[in-house]
């Protein structure tokens, strides 16, 4: 049970103290993590982050306050402290005047279906499952180091604001991560594996987590020591859903966060190329990228955001053109539109900010086989390890992990160290075809200061880029 009465109390207190707007979120995040380091269990980690976060506007200035001491006195104290702080800042006359978008007040209860509730899953289950995964690796002679980790979490939230909105939610999540090192005399390969979703523990079965983990282990042991070098040059390149997903997330999702476009993340994650690109043209007509928090059992699932706005799918790029940005009530208010419910907070102690949920390239109508057949001499990059992108989200790099040569329309030997290093506009302008499949990978997206890691999916179909310049390590 959450201290829901304190959320109402906080909003009442803020109103009494003269705040024009306030919202309060009581949130409890409970987690369990079990890890095996080359078969030996690390100390199991259990914990909870339970407290109240209050966001409020005073004389036009936005403030945030939080405490995990859940008493009326403590809540009153932090709100009074926040008012004093905002008064000090208002006196400097450099505070920004916030305009929130107008949104309908609503009441909602939502949760994720779980066959076995989080409270009924004990540590034994985590250990047993982690052991089963470790069994798949320990007889592989090329695998020399392995860290396998299984985490479960439960997020309970109760949100109210001074406009009469109330939202109650419950989201359990499970995440399998692994870091595998395989080598022989000639080659060392390292790979992160991340598979996760929202739901009961059965969500890992639904996601085929164990089969996918096993496929990854087979792939690592298959490619290490067999990877051939290729020459730098211009190639037709097929990328797998994992690579499509990171491309969508990094080069479209982040720069489409409206707070970045306005400059609010300027000192952290940076700004956005959308400050400069006025044409609205991002890529070829094949470039169709969306963000959708409502995908059932997804890792980035939510039905109402942290400002109590109903969530929906956002089509960020349609047929190569900018269609819609990710907004919260603050940026929507500035723009004169409604929020599209993109505000998220990683725990009670941080302000809600604009975030992605499940960001992906929309599937097309090709089959994977047809895509490979289209390539006479090229490369297939199924997964990646190293990647990065600049703070305007133009200059990006993805280094292939599991990658193969394509010759005469057939997938051939594994190759090593292929690098896609290009600009956003060049990348998406070279997109030629999309397959029918749509697959997702789990990730923790970072943003903001204090740093807020939130669960997301990234995904897409198999993509064919024609004429990409590739480098090699």
């Amino acid at each position: 049970m959450l201290a829901e009465d304190l959320a109402h109390f906080a909003v009442e207190q803020a109103s009494k103290l003269g705040f024009e707007y306030s919202e309060a979120r009581v949130q409890r995040d409970t987690f369990i993590t079990v890890s095996l380091n080359s078969g030996i269990p690390d100390v199991p980690l259990k914990g909870e982050f339970y407290g109240i976060g209050i966001r409020a506007i005073y004389k036009g200035a936005m403030g945030f306050s939080s405490t995990n001491v859940l008493t009326k006195d403590s809540v009153t104290n932090v709100i009074e402290n926040l008012k004093r702080t905002l008064e000090s800042i208002a006196a400097t006359k450099i505070n920004e005047k916030v305009r929130m978008s107008e949104e309908d007040a609503l009441t909602a209860n939502w949760s994720v279906d779980e066959r076995t509730s989080f409270e009924d899953v004990n540590l034994d289950w985590f250990l047993k499952k982690t052991r089963e995964l470790d069994e798949l690796t320990k007889n592989e002679s090329k695998i020399k180091q392995r860290l396998i980790r299984l985490s479960g979490s439960l997020q309970l939230k109760y949100f109210v604001n001074s406009e009469g909105t109330m939202v109650r939610s419950r989201v359990p999540r499970y995440l399998l991560t692994a870091f595998i090192t395989a080598y022989d005399a000639s080659d060392i390969a390292q790979r992160f594996i991340e598979i996760g979703g929202s739901g009961g523990p059965e969500v890992l079965d639904r996601l085929k987590a164990y089969e996918k983990f096993n496929e990854e282990i087979r792939a690592i042991t298959n490619i290490v020591g067999r990877r051939k070098s290729v020459k730098e040059g211009v190639y037709d390149v097929v990328v797998g859903p994992e690579v499509a997903g990171i491309m969508a997330h990094e080069s479209i999702g982040h720069p489409f966060e409206a707070d970045r476009v306005r400059g609010r993340e300027g000192a952290q994650g940076g700004e956005s190329y959308l400050r400069e690109i006025k044409s609205g043209k991002i890529g070829s007509a094949e470039a169709n990228i969306s963000d959708d928090p409502t995908i059932p059992f997804s890792y980035g699932y939510f039905l109402f955001d942290e400002e109590g706005v109903k969530a929906r799918k956002k089509e960020l790029v349609k047929e190569g053109a900018v269609n819609e940005l990710l907004h919260n009530r603050e940026t929507a208010g500035e723009t004169g539109i409604n929020s599209n419910a993109s505000a998220r907070a990683s725990n009670y102690s941080v302000e809600p900010i604009i975030r992605m949920s499940n960001t992906f390239v929309e599937p097309g109508d090709w089959t994977f086989e047809e895509i490979v057949k289209e390539v006479k001499d090229g490369l297939f990059i199924k997964s990646f390890m190293e990647w990065n992108i600049d703070d305007r989200r133009l200059n990006q790099r993805y280094v292939g992990f599991e990658a193969y040569r394509i010759s005469n329309s057939e997938i051939q030997e594994p190759v090593k160290g292929i690098i896609i290093e290009t600009t956003t506009l060049n990348l998406w302008s070279k997109l030629y075809a999309r397959s029918r499949e749509l697959e997702f990978s789990a990730a923790t997206c970072g943003k903001g200061d204090p740093e807020q890691g939130v669960p997301v999916w990234t995904g897409g179909p198999y993509l064919l880029f024609k004429g990409l310049n590739l480098k090699v390590r």
Binding site: A3, R28, N37, I40, P41, V43, P44, L45, K46, G47, E48, Y50, G51, G63, F64, S66, T67, N68, V69, L70, T71, S74, V78, L82, L86, I89, T92, N95, E96, N122, L123, Q145, T181, Y183, I188, Q190, R262, G263, R264, E265, G266, A267, Q268, E351, M385, E386, N388, I389, D390, D391, N395, Q396, R397, V399, E421, T423, N426, G446, D449, R473
Partner: protein, 430 residues
């Protein structure tokens, strides 16, 4: 005392425990386009609990103070069902340093005034806009262990960083201190503004190998990675290029790196670690040789050595890292370079392979082309693509002056670093 409530429940139920209570007051002032966008006031109390019984162990973070007893009992139930294995050792009865390195209280009004002045100064210097953040902390730690260790410790920490923008250029400035007296946002903003102006109209350069000077922000980012890879856990798991290299020369003789548990302006200082072991100083690299691995009790047992006071219950980690200054001035370093690049900051470092140390990182903010010993012009859109072992052995010069760095995203553990000159660094362009 909150810890006494926990002790009452567990003292007869477990063999060992280490309890750390942290009471944290956090003030945040965040601004962009020269305006404060949000002010935050956060107050938290939480307990980290390590408990072992026989050959069983559990670690739990407790934040629900209203149901503290329930949370502790849940951890004890876990101890019943968990499988047996190696257990951490809570440090025996000892004493801790009482080093005075910080203020008694947060000087909020003075800090706010410094932050406002820093913004004004950047605009006076002619930048287009500035964004940044100030974070002020007052933390009280309380330690209580089954071995009879008790310690109360109070800290204040001040962290500020800002980015100024001008045209297509930007600059970065950072100030970290354990005392308001040395907290200097104005100088940080002035530096950010200066670099923004210098880099206003950057030009492309061809991809290739260059001699580079890494300023303290990017040098700190590199050295933070190296210090983290000195962790025994990182080495055992595969997150380090230092496996089997203890005792080897990994850098030139001029390079020495030390981890300090407590030090003035080290904003991650504490006199004890998560197992109650006293923190001290650990030389990691001495005159170019990799001389120490950092440990908690679990990794120390595995490696048949003693803890270095760096627990982290699972992964031992550095506290505050200092790289010794060298023997040259920054200007001399520039004069020595016929053709190269001065790099002032970086971001988004990712590894292709931790065992080989191959990584790349985005060069961000001002990067300045050097020709015949002089700054020539700003450079755009470059990425450093290298390997840590190669980079370390290619350090040619180390500046006399050093600077503390800690900021969002790239330098999480505080690092005090000089400027370094590195030969043969690969810079790529998209």
């Amino acid at each position: 005392m909150i810890l006494d409530r926990v002790k009452q429940i567990i003292s007869n139920a477990v063999d060992q425990y280490s309890l750390i209570e942290s009471d944290v007051d956090e003030y945040i002032i965040r601004f962009y386009n020269g305006k404060v966008t949000v002010a935050a006031v956060n107050r938290s109390t939480y307990i980290q609990m390590l408990a072992t019984k026989g050959r069983k162990k559990v670690f739990k973070v407790l934040t629900d103070m209203q149901s503290l007893e329930k949370g502790v009992e849940d951890a004890l139930k876990t101890l019943e069902i968990i499988e047996e294995g190696e257990v951490p050792e809570v440090y025996p009865k000892t004493s801790y340093s009482n080093m005075e390195i910080s203020d008694k209280e947060i000087a909020f009004d003075e800090a706010l005034s410094k932050v406002i002045n820093s913004v004004d100064k950047a605009y006076s210097a002619g930048v287009d806009r500035i964004a940044g953040i100030a974070k002020l902390y007052k933390t009280t730690y309380n330690l209580l262990t089954s071995t009879g260790n008790e310690k109360e410790e109070k800290r204040t920490d001040y962290i500020y960083y800002a980015r100024a923008f001008k045209g297509n250029g930007s600059g970065f400035g950072n100030s970290v201190s354990t005392s308001i007296k040395r907290f200097d946002p104005e100088s940080a903003s002035a530096e950010a503004a200066e670099y923004a102006k210098i880099s206003e109209s950057p030009k492309s350069i061809p991809e290739g190998k260059y001699t580079v000077i890494l300023s303290p922000p990017i040098a700190s980012a590199i050295f933070e990675l190296v210090a983290g890879m000195c962790s025994a856990y990182s080495i055992d798991v595969g997150f380090s290029f230092l496996k089997d290299r203890l005792g080897e020369t990994i850098a030139p003789e001029g390079l020495s790196m030390t981890d300090y548990g407590q030090i003035s302006d080290g904003v991650n200082s504490r006199s004890f670690d998560d197992e109650g072991a006293p923190t001290g100083s650990t030389k990691l690299i001495e005159k170019g040789r990799f001389v120490s691995v950092i440990h908690n009790s679990t990794t120390a047992k595995k490696w048949r050595t003693k803890t270095t006071g760096n627990a982290g219950i699972i992964d031992p980690s550095p506290w505050n890292v200092i790289i010794d200054g060298g023997d040259v001035d920054n200007d001399e370093m520039i004069k020595e370079i016929k053709e190269g690049v001065l790099i002032t900051n970086n971001w988004y470092t990712r590894f292709n392979n931790y065992r080989t140390g191959e990584f790349s990182t985005i060069i961000r903010d001002a990067a300045l082309y050097i020709k015949n010993g002089e700054i020539s012009h700003p450079v755009a859109n470059i990425r450093l693509s290298d390997s840590l072992p190669r980079l370390l052995t290619s350090i040619k010069m180390i500046s006399k002056n050093t600077k503390w760095v800690k900021w969002w995203g790239e330098v999480v553990t505080p690092v005090k670093s000089p400027y370094i000159t590195v030969e043969g660094a690969t810079l790529t362009v998209p």
